[in-house]
Every structure is written in structure tokens, then in C-alpha cells.
Symmetry: C2
Subunit: 235 residues, 2 copies
């Protein structure tokens, strides 16, 4: 029997590695700027610039590259060179061209899940980046719908659930980001399952006290999803 539960699955760092690529590029930037400032200053400056730029640029590799160039202008006391600029641009290319690395257990588990549930892939970011990864992953056929959204806020979720004719009571969102995949869903009376990932972008980190006031299941790996969903269906 197909469960009426519809699953929303985040992609970056839930189905495949993503943040680790940006972490590598950011380590490279710290290296490039080490003649001028300490790594800690690079991280802080870049995060501040990214926070400001997200309103203008949205998320993704191009946004990260432009913010990195801006950080380099600022932190080199305007001594930025052509070599430095080119290295930063190439670092962005490296992220874009990096093969998709599917997380352990994901492919097998998607096969099981898709025979029992309708699946929606719901990811935030730059569609140029996202569709490239979705196509390269070879996993897109498991999904009834693929949604690349600008922001994962409650209104975005409500709008897309309505468009897919899904009652939020029957919806379970699964992902690695508490502010993007979990809290907005709880706020619209949906259910959510958190699968933490080893690397989380500074912009996606939330205060522990905020998280503690909510109650949602946390599992260690994607492979545990069918078991935990079986307990959901009994509700």
C-alpha cells in the first residue's frame, strides 16, 4: 500500500555533497589572502559580505565568487592582483565542474522510498548550479516534482504544496538545514526530519536555544528514513 505521506527532500548536503566544495574554495581563499590577514578574518569578512549580497545576488557559486572577489579587494588593502582575481574565478569554476558525489546509502534508499511515497525534490539556490547537479546525479527519475526555489520560507513551501496538490498534513520535509528544511515546515504545521551534515554554511547556522524549543526527529543517515517514516505512518 502506498503511504499517503508525501516526502520533500532537500538536495545539497542531503542527497549529495555540496558545502564541502565551498569549504575547500574558502580554504583556498584563506591561503591566497594569507600574506595580508589571518584565516579567521577572511571567514568573518566573507560571511558578512555574503549576508549583504544574498539580497542582491541570491545563493550559489556565482554569488560566492563575486563575494570572494569583494573580500579580496577589501582584505588586500586594495592590492588585489590579476593572479588573485583569476585564482578566485577558477575556484568557482572548480566548484561548478566538480562531479556530483552522492552521499552513502542515498541511491538505494531513494529506490525504496519512491516505491512507497511520492517524492518532491526541494532545493534552494542558483538554478544554473542546481539543474546541472540534478541532471548529473542520475536520481531525477525518482521525483514526481523538482523545485528550485529562491528562499525556503513558509510561504514558498505553502505555495509549492498547493501547486502540487499536497495537504501539509500529509507532508514530511527531510533535510540537513534547520532554518531551511525544518523550522519553516513546523511553522505551517507540517512534519520534518533532520539529517545533520558534517559541514554547514555559516549563513544556515541557528541558535541552539531556538532549536531546543522545537521537537523534531533527528537521524544520522539517509538510510534510516524508511524506518523512521514507518513510525510516522502509524500516527
Amino acid at each position: 500500500m502506498v503511504s499517503p505521506l508525501i516526502l520533500g527532500l532537500d538536495a545539497d548536503d542531503t542527497l549529495w555533497e555540496n558545502q564541502a566544495r565551498f569549504d575547500t574554495a574558502q580554504a583556498k581563499l584563506r591561503d591566497l589572502l594569507s600574506p595580508w590577514v589571518e584565516g579567521k578574518v577572511v571567514d568573518e569578512t566573507l560571511l558578512n559580505i555574503e549576508r549583504n549580497n544574498v539580497k542582491l545576488y541570491g545563493y550559489g557559486v556565482k554569488s560566492f565568487t563575486l563575494s570572494s572577489i569583494q573580500a579580496a579587494v577589501e582584505l588586500t588593502n586594495r592590492e588585489i592582483t590579476a593572479d588573485l582575481t583569476t585564482a578566485i574565478i577558477e575556484s568557482g569554476w572548480w566548484i561548478i565542474k566538480h562531479p556530483v558525489e552522492i552521499l552513502p546509502g542515498v541511491a538505494e534508499t531513494l529506490k525504496i522510498l519512491s516505491s512507497n511515497h511520492q517524492l518532491l525534490l526541494i532545493t534552494k539556490g542558483d538554478p544554473a548550479d542546481q539543474y546541472k547537479k540534478i541532471n548529473a546525479s542520475g536520481l531525477s527519475h525518482y521525483f514526481r516534482g523538482i523545485e528550485v526555489v529562491q528562499e525556503k520560507d513558509p510561504n514558498t513551501y505553502l505555495e509549492l504544496l498547493e501547486r502540487h496538490n499536497v495537504d501539509v498534513k500529509d507532508f514530511v520535509m527531510v533535510g540537513n538545514s534547520v532554518p531551511s528544511d525544518i523550522l519553516p515546515i513546523l511553522s505551517i504545521q507540517g512534519r520534518a526530519i533532520h539529517i545533520p551534515h558534517h559541514s554547514t554554511w555559516g549563513h544556515e547556522q541557528v541558535d541552539e536555544s531556538v532549536v531546543a524549543s522545537f521537537n523534531f526527529p533527528v537521524i544520522e543517515s539517509f538510510s534510516q528514513l524508511p524506518d523512521i517514516l514507518a513510525t510516522f505512518s502509524e500516527n
Copy 2:
């Protein structure tokens, strides 16, 4: 009586000014690089870089900004300075922050069209840029659907028409770009109306001989749409 014809409307340079902003930013780039090379060389180099980068970056302001920085590195013989880099980044911000300027007659005509047809807004590009403009335009309520796509190729159109339950026989696409708004629609046996715009991006220009082999109506302004569509309905 509501006509069964469903209209697809392009946005940039069909509903509002767009290319003119990029032209201004490109003129600024020619100015900035004038100590090194002639304007013509800037235009040619930038177009080549953009053509290569579109596969990695997609379209839009961030893509344009990164390509401009790359052109500046190349054309200054790697003497690019912080001031030059900052000026290019700010040129991109200027495009993003520029108020949406709706083309003459568009608002009135959309009101007429939307009472007789279902309208889909179909635009290519960076969703961060596009949704900002769509929201700022105040025109989004005229549309039954809004689609920001990566490429306007025949498959993209077929996929979105199927999703919106539109038979291509009942579909008319309207836009300023022959390769994006007209030719792919004709290739899937749909109909299309061309409204040329004073400024067209180099990447969107097509060979005259290609165009001459196809037959599609060309009108001078958006306000002429209801009249020409009246002749379509009689078919």
C-alpha cells in the same frame, strides 16, 4: 467569449527594458578599459567570454559581472586594479537596483489581453534577477503562470506547455528575441509573434538568412497585439 488561445509572453525587452541596462554597463566597461584597448575590442572580447561562460554560469547580472571582470583581467594585460574591479562589481549592482521600466502600452494592453486569454510569463535568466523584476513590475497578477527557465529551447517549451496543460496548437508566443521566443516555437508547430526591440544582445542575434526562411508576424509595439491576435483567432 474567452479565446482558446493561450499567450506566452517574454519579459525582458518585451514587457520592460532590460538590454539597455546591460548596454550602459558595457559602455562603462569600455570607458574603464579605454587606457588599454579600443571599445570594439572590449565588445568582442566580452562577447566571446560570455559565450563560453554561459554554459557554466547561465544568464543574468552575476554572469555578466564575472565575465566583465575576466575581460578586464585579459585586456589590461593583467594590470587590473582594485578600483577597476570595484567599478565593475558596482556596475552590476547598478543593473540589479535599477527600477523596472515598463515599455509603452504594456500595462494597458495586458489588461485587455488578460480578459480574453490565459497568459503565461516565460522568461529566461537568473531567477534572482527575474523574480525581483516581476515583483517590482506590479504586473504579475495578469499571469496564470510564471516560468523562469534556463534556456528557451523546444524541449523547455514542450515541457512547460505539458505542465500547464496547454496544447501547442492553442499557443502563441510573443517576444523580442528570434532565437529564444520565435524559432523554437515554430519548430514545435506553435505560433509566434515577434516584437523587435531597439537593443538586442549579441548572443541573441541570428543570421538574416535563417530568419528569412520562416514566416511569422512582426509588429512594432506591444499595443498592436490584440488586433493581430484577432486575425489569429479567425484561423
